[in-house]
């Protein structure tokens, strides 16, 4: 690319389409913050007045705080475990000429195409048969399974992106494998690790359907929200909560995508 080709001229129609597309993509999501500051409990235009009442109600809600901490802990632990697995797997898949590399990657990415409900009920049956009581721990098992493929996909371009001879130089200069990893490989792939941590945290933090089947009586934040949806009078508070969650997700994901793309050859435009 780079050099302008005479094949594709500016197309105003396509440009308008693109901006309309973006507008429709974001409009429903941005309605949540908009109405969370509306003083009326009815979600309708015109907006009645500005209030932060719902945020205050949210702040004072102890159930919400419990669910929030559950989700934060769950997300943090899941992020660390799946990123650790992802680092090892990504290094193995990019640095060594493994037999059947393609099929291995395909197998690892399988959870991305298994419907969440199938995964959820299958794990539910497994836990039931194995006599493991349902809790946030069983939700965590499910989340590690769906997060690890994302960690591998985020980290592999990072490992491919730097010259393996730097690692070899370190080995030649007498560092063993462990120190080569910490002093050479780790700093180089660090942005990828950070991106993977943020991404897997967000996935676990937002995941609903597996938690729905596997959480038992414990509540993660999405389950808490689901339970609130039955009460119309609590809708404004759910809107306030949604606004906060969306804001946090946007920031985390924006930085992680930014980090993923930095340093990686942007020409390939690879779907991380």
């Amino acid at each position: 690319m780079g050099t302008a080709s005479y094949v594709n001229r500016e197309s105003p129609a396509l440009k308008i389409y693109a901006w309309a597309f973006v507008a429709i993509l974001y409009a429903p999501i941005l309605l949540l913050p908009l109405f969370s500051f509306n003083s009326s409990t009815y979600i309708a235009f015109p907006i009645e007045g500005f209030t932060t009442e719902w945020y205050g109600a949210l702040w004072a809600n102890s159930q919400m705080w419990t669910a929030l901490w559950n989700s934060v802990w769950l997300g943090a632990i899941v992020a660390v475990i799946s990123t650790a697995l992802g680092v090892l797997a990504a290094k193995a898949l990019t640095r060594y000429r493994l037999p059947a590399r393609g099929p291995i990657i395909g197998f690892m990415m399988l959870p991305l195409v298994v419907p969440g409900i199938v995964f959820g009920v299958a794990l539910l049956i497994l836990m039931n048969r194995a006599g493991i009581p349902l809790s946030l721990f069983t939700v965590g098992i499910g989340h590690v399974l769906i997060c690890t493929p994302f960690a591998i996909a985020t980290l592999m371009p990072r490992f491919e992106g730097f010259d393996a001879s730097i690692e070899e130089a370190s080995a030649d200069l007498g560092e063993n494998g462990w120190w080569t990893f910490w002093r050479v490989t780790f700093p180089l792939v660090f942005p990828g690790i950070l991106a993977s941590l943020m991404l897997t945290f967000t996935i676990s933090f937002d995941e609903f359907i597996m938690a729905f089947f596997l959480a038992g009586t414990e509540q993660s934040l999405p389950i808490y929200i689901w339970n609130q949806l039955r009460f119309p009078e609590r809708l404004p508070m759910v809107l306030a909560l949604s606004t906060i969650i969306i804001a946090i997700s946007f920031v985390l994901v924006f930085f992680s995508l930014w980090l993923t793309r930095l340093g990686v050859d942007t020409k390939t435009g690879d779907a991380a």
Partner: protein
């Protein structure tokens, strides 16, 4: 995808004498080291996918008995699914609805991916992030957002009633198959844009110039060069959307109403109020099998058509 497979054979590093036979073995055999590194993730994935899948299959041949299960293998669940019309009806409705959502998503997202691949010159990364950002936020909240837009007391209805255009809320907006398809299309857009974009980006620009030089206009060039070359991305997009949406639970539960119930809701029912886990297991497997079936059939039809051309 950059296929730069790990570098050429490296010079043997200076051998530092190390104790232990295992580490000596690892030093010598590169592949072994790779396998050792891969094994934790591999073990987790194998245990985490094969075990649940196995118990799912086993349980689908059981039947409920009081609060426990009758573990004598039987085909009762499967024969019920085959003979009682409710199951077939819900299954075909689910396939139809998510099929519609898949096709609409791909049609709407193709021009978008095309725009980013061919017309955006600067800030490409920013555009890609812009396109995929909403997808990473909570699925539940994105679906919930549509309930707020389309709902009985939702934005459209309440606003129209408020300004006096309509007397009673328009019921067809919420609790319908249309509402589910609209929401699914919106929620899965990123899954269509990314693969299509990648396959468009891979197209060698000189092929397009060649087509132009040889007299193709923009449309002819698009249908004879660009579109066929981007088909792998289109197929990948359809796969990535169709398979998970057939079993979607959240969207039909929040927006479907009685007309929009899908197979995922029926599966959930078996694990919840209906308390018939074996039937739920069988339904989950039948759903996966029929999803795969539809997809393979589509692929076969496509290659048959291509062979004729």
């Amino acid at each position: 995808m950059t296929e730069v497979v790990a570098s050429a054979p490296r010079g043997e590093p200076l051998e530092i004498p190390r104790p232990g036979r295992l580490s000596a073995l690892l030093q010598r055999y590169e592949i072994l080291r790779g396998v050792v590194l891969l094994s934790p993730a591999m073990a987790v994935m194998i245990a985490g996918m094969l075990l649940p899948f196995l118990v799912l299959v086993v349980m689908s041949f059981w039947t409920p008995m009081g609060f426990d299960f009758n573990t004598d293998p039987s085909f009762k669940n499967y024969s019920d699914i085959a003979t009682q019309p409710i199951y077939g009806a819900l299954l075909s409705r689910s396939l139809w609805m998510s099929g519609a959502a898949t096709v609409i998503t791909v049609l709407l997202c193709y021009p978008m991916a095309y725009y980013v691949a061919f017309h955006v010159k600067r800030h490409k990364t920013l555009w890609l992030i812009l396109m995929t950002l909403p997808f990473w936020t909570s699925y539940l909240l994105r679906v919930f957002a549509w309930k707020i837009v389309l709902g009985y007391n939702g934005m459209i209805n309440a606003s129209l009633t408020g300004i006096g255009l309509i007397d009673a809320p328009l019921e067809f907006l919420l609790y319908s198959q249309t509402a589910v398809v609209i929401t699914l299309t919106h929620a899965w857009a990123a899954f269509a844009i990314l693969p299509i974009y990648v396959s468009l980006e891979k197209i060698d620009r000189s092929l397009l110039e060649a087509a132009t030089d040889l007299g193709d206009g923009p449309w002819a060039r698009f249908f004879r060069v660009t579109l066929p070359l981007s088909m792998p991305g289109v197929i990948a997009a359809m796969l990535l959307i169709f398979i998970p949406t057939v079993g979607d639970y959240v969207t039909p539960a929040l927006l479907g109403g009685p007309d929009g119930v899908m197979i995922g809701n029926l599966i959930q029912l078996q694990f919840g109020p209906a308390n018939n886990w074996p039937m739920g297991a069988a339904l989950a497997l039948v759903m996966m099998a029929s999803t795969a079936g539809v997809f393979i059939a589509t692929k076969l039809v496509r290659s048959a058509l291509e062979a004729r051309i």
